[in-house]
């Protein structure tokens, strides 16, 4: 039986010295007798040497300055704490009313009770809402970052450009849009999106569904 050649990944791992000793020894022995694989290894090493000799490149000061001058204003985004805060604002009058009711309730000897904790919490809720409103940016920052929506669930990566992917999806009746990072988010079921993109080759435009 003819000897099996190491895979591309194994040969790359050999060059990068990422194999465990036993496997490395097996590949080394194979390379002694297999000219085809030895040629692969030589090309991999030559390609690596050429690429790693490429120096870093730098923007000119003039161009760098222009980039920051032209950075647009960012629309303030609504985060979860915005909605929480709004909820509290709506809840505040209700809480105050509840607190008053509780006071009336607990001062009525006929009805008994006397536990003021609930009333206190309700009043606190109203106070928190008012404080949150005054707190502005600082209040918004607390835990808000984790609450923003993701792009959706990744379906697959297809050849671009992203606008062509959106058009291809639209042709199948699926709404989609290009995100700021060049990925695409489609509205619908993952299976439908996958089917709509079946004929499209793989590439670097990530397609998500939400």
């Amino acid at each position: 039986m003819a000897e099996q050649h190491p895979s591309e990944v194994t040969l790359l791992s050999y060059i990068e010295d990422e194999l465990i000793p036993g496997t490395r020894q097996d590949v080394a022995e194979h390379l002694v007798t297999c000219r085809e694989c030895a040629d692969h290894v030589r090309r991999l090493e030559a390609g690596r040497t050429a690429l790693r000799s490429a120096p870093p490149l730098e923007l000119s000061d003039e161009r760098r300055a222009r980039i920051f001058v032209e950075l647009p204003d960012r629309e303030p985004r609504r985060s979860l704490s915005d909605y929480v805060r709004r909820g509290l604002l709506i809840a505040a009058p209700v809480a105050v009313a509840a607190a008053l009711a509780a006071v009336v309730f607990t001062t009525d000897p006929q009805l008994g009770g006397g536990d003021d904790d609930d009333a206190g919490e309700a009043a606190d809720a109203g106070g928190d809402a008012a404080q949150a409103e005054e707190g502005g940016v600082e209040m918004l920052s607390t835990g808000a970052d984790d609450a923003t929506l993701p792009q959706g669930t990744l379906v697959r990566n297809v050849a671009g450009p992203a606008s062509a992917v959106v058009n291809a999806l639209a042709a199948e009746g699926i709404d989609a849009e290009v995100n700021e990072d060049g990925s695409v988010t489609a509205q619908g079921r993952a299976a439908d999106v996958r089917t709509a993109l079946e004929g499209r080759p793989s590439g670097i435009v990530a397609v998500y569904v939400r």
Partner: protein
């Protein structure tokens, strides 16, 4: 912990100074990535500018699942991809000599034999070898940036390097035979 975390948090709240400091950390690598993928100094500067605008606008939605640098380079890869079909720089002999020494150096590098061989590669191979060998990203980071499995990344590096070496070898051979 992501070393950029604190600056990212501030930039997410709209602190432009924090964003500029973040960019200063990564700008050279962003530009090198775009320049090697696009093969053009001007197109690369446009790609970096576009990527930074996209990053700035999308930053509030960055959740920190990946390192900030990985997220940023991913945007550069996508922006470069979007720019590539639209832009073709005219031959360099029609352009005036750049005034800035960094531009002159980039111009010289991007008109060299290595860049011609890179330009001839399939885009997915080119992106993989530039990220791995030129920028020194890990397989996992490249997989994250390009949305493919690590095995696919390795396969692309294998093929990209191999084809590049063949093209460089051919170029040398042709040069020798023409002399």
């Amino acid at each position: 912990m992501d070393p950029d975390e604190e600056l990212v948090r501030r930039a997410q709240k709209g602190d432009r100074f924090a964003f500029e400091r973040l960019v200063a950390e990564h700008e050279q690598r962003m530009y090198t990535l775009a320049a090697r993928v696009l093969g053009s100094r001007e197109d690369a500067a446009d790609a970096v500018q576009e990527a930074l605008v996209r990053a700035w606008l999308a930053l509030p939605r960055f959740r920190g699942d990946a390192r900030f640098s990985t997220w940023l380079y991913r945007i550069v890869v996508n922006t470069s991809h979007d720019l590539r079909p639209k832009r073709r720089e005219p031959p360099t002999d029609e352009l005036p000599e750049p005034a800035d020494p960094r531009d002159r150096f980039a111009e010289q590098e991007l008109s060299g034999e290595l860049q011609r061989a890179l330009d001839a590669l399939d885009e997915t191979y080119r992106v993989a070898v530039v990220l791995y060998d030129v920028l020194g990203c890990s397989y996992a980071e490249i997989a994250e940036m390009t949305g493919v499995a690590e095995g696919t990344v390795k396969s692309r590096i294998f093929r990209g390097r191999s084809e590049l070496a063949q093209r460089l070898g051919t170029a040398v051979h042709e040069t020798e035979s023409n002399q």
